[in-house]
Subunit: 422 residues, 4 copies
């Protein structure tokens, strides 16, 4: 494919990804879109604007194109110290102006600018410039996909805090056939490679690809299920300190955790508030909205442990046929039970907490400039999650993909998968 | 006036007051109306709904009229424990549903119900019932007027927290002629009466009317001005502990106060963010957005003190011609300098902090039932303010009217007036 | 009595008061004396040093006598901004040096200096100087008596926080005969005078004596009792919001109050931790360690209300034979039931919360200099208590004496007495 | 060596280690010993008692010996949920009873019990029992050594919070000769082994020994110095977000960090409060009292990075002659400059932060029972430090030894050493 064709394909992907973001906001009122229900979440409108701001700051600005509105640089910067001042994170929900409609206008103006720029660069015939433009746009689209997932997790949280518990998408969840029993698949380990290869798109935190030594281990054929979490609750797991890491138990007690986030477990059984409203998952459904602390405790309760991220990635790479689960594009928006044999749903349905702290790979260097702030400065006090979820856009996640959140995080679509020493 | 005529007049006043509330929301987008910028403020939409809920709970409900929406009792209760559970105050800003439009529908439905009820009771010819209905509706209208002022103070705070600092009402503030110099008007004191007389509308906290003994005192002819606050700032008042009450100074330092709320005082002079945007008041403008702590310190700096509420009320009652200042209906929305001689602007422009803690009058009893929660349960840890402000609806305030806020409150249109011992 | 004789008497009283402070520390180890169990309390050693510092700062320093240790001015200043910097209040418990023994040396050095000064001034024959010295020493002794009570309240709190619950003074509390039933004594009110007369020692906050108008009222013949608090607990008073002021109820729930401080009320009955260890008071014992919030709620529960401070003082002044209760000098250290008829134990046993906020009397002016910081700067957000307690030194309290604490305070020996409108 | 001889040697070591703890308390008053200056530190008296409690709980109790005082199990348990309830950590400083003297008695009683037990088991000739006893005593002695270091770090913090800044040990610090310049020593990496071998004493978190793959790297010949930190300060490092991890910078700004803990850097140069009082270290002195956040930022400022714990351990194991620095037994109590060539002071002087989060080694399993709570439950949200310090008892630390603290910790004797990719 020549540069011109590549750029045309890129433009098509740009249009599709940007439209997908707007589609997520469909059905949300202006009032819904301004809600910020806790400092860790952002309003839907802010996500829509910030992803436009990203293209404006890193694509249009460097190309010499004047800002659409000078004030937006301050309003929609997320955390780039290199770029300048910004609205404090916890106050994003106070920004009623510009309106949701004006943010739509902003997005369209950015789109016109980006598409015109792609066109112009395609006309240039300057291969190096085309390559450089393609790279930064590809990063912007991957960035936008991350915010697509956040739009879903954040509106779920905002709706969960409302007395009337609005439903984001209507329609019942389809019943599934029963899951095969859980098995443990063994891996030999040894000196293996993990991380993204040098070519092709990947985030900087996935590189460099490097060698790690793994002891033999086994990985469960499916994520931890609702039935297993129910057993943990029933046997007093939330009140048994010896099952927990010390800080995890202190957090659970201080916060009064008695079940995963959005879940109630009482006389009426196990019910979860989801983007489809209240929902009673079957016992073989992957458990979701677990913190790392809970995932670690449940794993110990079940006689296993969480895998390291190297074990997880090695397993993901060495298995031929991965039966992937739900992605956001499927529109299901809740995890469903594993239907297949083998290493089921290693991708999709629920992110899987690993035992690994989020640290730089050997030889990793933080890039210069604002993009250097993308991943590297968060490499402490967080844990790595792998595999994507039913709220992740299809195609966004790879075997080497490293998601990361503080261990107390529960509002993400986060679950767990057991590992064992062999 | 017979019952029927009284009820007709009441219906007219009901329609006018309710319409005035809606007029305040004109020009605010749905997103503006859902903002809650701190726990002490509420969204405009919430004020609109809560004032409707008041009529539904205390007028329509007791008359046997079914709730318009069962869920609204929970959503729009403010603090009535007798009525039942409610949304935590700090989470009112998360209620995107019902929408601003649906709240408008709710208000209209309540209005239809109330007006129909007035009509029905008028037809009845049951004088006692008419009287009882008129009383509760009058309370509801006075309650609604209080929330009209809160709509203005709360949206000002919400707009002040936004990076783009939206303007609520456009149009410059008219220049005024220079103020006459400040004088102190003497009062003999002695055994005087304060409080509302038994008949006519007043809040329960204004009663019973009772005797208090006052030493001779003098009261300033105008409120503390911007020029006086500038002198306080310039001479280091915010950093001079001996000018302050101990807890006031601790609060000022902990919060980093260097000027009244919404004000900046630097090389560009004294500027205030108002409902008309940024504005540079002249030195003889009444200072606004002072906490009780600041008012007390500025008074000491100026060689005076704050009056007690009995002194204030006695002065207000014993002066023939009170030149009242601005009310909300005038549409100015900022305080303006005193133009007249005598006790200027004792009413309107800015609420005036008194030295008096908010306590029950002798013989005061908290009423039974939910309405008993209206005032009495807040009688501690607050200070009394008197006289109304440029954000108060005309006619709402009397000489005996007692407003009250915690001493650290600054987001109200609060100022001060000096008193002196004679 | 001539100046010389007055000064001799003053020297005797000085010696006795200073010795009484040291006697309170008898039996406390050096480790006990350094404890600070919350920011509102101070270590015993600090009280011993601070009261010496007071004489050094306000008596010896102005007389030109060099400081005993330059560093103590910083260490043992309580809250006098005029004097200079000081150790943050919450960190007084970290001061292991100087030691308890060195503080004893410091006290003795101050005593020598003060007694020598009294002697010298007596020799002078300068009557004005003698008078001025006598006044400031009298203030210092009254100040020291206040800290004597604080030594007892603070060590009680520190011991209550220890797992082994040490006992401050051993020996059982003597049984008392049954109390006569509670009666309400009526007072006519009218225009009465309260406050301290111009001559004789009193704190500045008790002056000027002034007129207040009182409606007729009645006052209970004894304080609220343990039996009444048990009824309040048994009938769910701690969980009935309509009995409380709003902020009181919020505090009670946030703090998890289910009984007064130091009290447990369960299957084993009502037990209180006291300076004599755990103790089961009889039902007719005055209830102690109530906050203002609890006192106000219990009063409402019992169909009464708290008196204003003017009512209390008027009653105290107009009753001939006041049967006073226990003082600290009696060594009982816990309140005991009222044995007499009439207005029993208006003084002693337990401080009595009044409904009155702590505000300046008409004409009150804060004195210039450091002593002006003694009382006036605390006149907000506190409530007045009257009458002294079983931990107050005999002779310290007058009818006009105004004690004051924030309404949530419970570690003082604070109770309540009912009033009623007539 | 036969069992009897081994036990005799163990008894000798027991006596010496226990005496060393008491020697650290020499010169501290009873008041000094009860101080707790923040929740993360403990009173010296508590350390003395807790280390006795450890032997009582894990040696004497299982041998059927009755508790010396039933109440001490509650008082001196640190964090063993399996053992039972305990004093909240932040309230250890409120325990004035038992006294420092009584804790001395307690320690002696425990010593008698342990030595008698060793003797009895030696007489038994039961080799298995002797081995088991020796193992738990060895753990107890290593545990006690850890608390010896904490006694020093905690009293330093308590003294730093006191206005008079007491000096723990008097006597000036000896001047040292100039350091050789810093060099980077290269290591090839590859598949190496780290962790403690199966035999010999080591903590459970050092095992199992296992293989890791290392890329080539280089390690600095000495720790980061005071001179380097001064340059970091002078060039605005504390206010340059791009040098820091995001959470580190947020912490630094929220806490107002401008220099390492205990250090001031102003016109008077760089001065540090130490156990020998205020002290001006030379520029080539290892910097101390750095948090992980600061260590990481300073490393980036200097063009390096922190080593991983595997790199550090590999370097420590593969270098023949390690010139170790100061240990607590040397009595210097402050770090001194590196005098030698080669990998200087990898051990002693200052602990060295690594980039590695504290996680379990492959195959690590938490032991059953209370001892399982020793290390494993803290394996999250902390970073590993290596090498011991001038406050660590000689002989306590190995190449495989893993110390760990949260990244914001600064009151430990913590420094850093640079690594580089090759």
């Amino acid at each position: 494919m020549n540069d011109r064709a590549k750029l045309t394909a890129l433009a098509e992907r740009y249009v599709a990804t940007r439209a997908a973001t707007e589609a997520l906001a469909t059905g949300l009122s202006d009032e819904d879109q301004v809600l910020q229900s806790m400092p860790q979440t952002s309003p839907v409108k802010w996500h829509r604007a910030h992803t436009a701001w990203f293209f404006e700051s890193f694509v249009l600005g460097p190309a010499g194109i004047a800002p659409i509105d000078e004030r937006y640089a301050f309003l929609f910067n997320s955390y780039y110290d290199t770029i300048g001042e910004r609205v404090p994170r916890a106050k994003r929900g106070l920004v009623s102006r510009p309106s949701a409609r004006e943010v739509g206008d902003y997005r369209r103006a950015v789109d016109e600018g980006v598409l015109a720029l792609i066109d112009r660069v395609g006309d240039d015939g300057d291969g190096e410039r085309a390559e450089s433009l393609a790279q930064i746009i590809e990063l912007g689209l991957n960035h936008e996909e991350q915010h697509q997932e956040l739009i879903l997790t954040d509106i779920l949280h905002a709706f969960s805090e409302q007395p009337l518990h609005p439903v984001y998408r209507t329609g019942a969840v389809a019943r599934t056939t029963a899951s095969p029993p859980c098995r443990f698949l063994a891996f030999d380990g040894g000196l293996v490679e993990i991380g993204a290869p040098p070519s092709g798109f990947a985030f900087d935190n996935e590189r460099p690809r490097h060698r790690v030594f793994l002891e033999p281990f086994a990985l469960a054929s499916r994520p931890v299920t609702v039935g297993e979490v129910k057993a943990f609750i029933a046997e007093g797991g939330y009140h048994t300190p010896t099952l927990w890491l010390a800080e995890g138990y202190a957090t659970a007690r201080a916060m009064g955790w008695e079940a995963p986030l959005y879940a109630t477990c009482d006389g009426d059984g196990y019910r979860v508030f989801t983007l489809r409203g209240w929902y009673a998952p079957s016992d073989d459904t992957p458990a979701s909205h677990l913190s790392f602390w809970e995932a670690e405790a449940v794993a110990r309760f079940l006689g296993g442990r969480l895998p390291t991220e190297a074990e997880w990635e090695h397993a993901a790479a060495s298995v031929d046929a991965l039966a992937a689960g739900r992605w956001a594009d499927d529109g299901v928006l809740v995890p469903l039970p594993v239907a297949s044999e083998g290493l089921g749903q290693l991708f999709g349905d629920v992110w899987e907490w690993t035992r690994s702290g989020y640290e730089p790979y050997p030889g990793y260097r933080i890039a210069a400039g604002a993009l250097g702030e993308y991943n590297g400065k968060f490499m402490a006090q967080q844990n790595v999650l792998r595999g994507g979820s039913c709220l992740t856009p299809r195609g966004h996640v790879r075997a080497s993909y490293r998601n990361f959140w503080p261990p107390e995080t529960r509002f993400q679509m986060s679950g767990a998968r057991l590992a064992r020493d062999v």
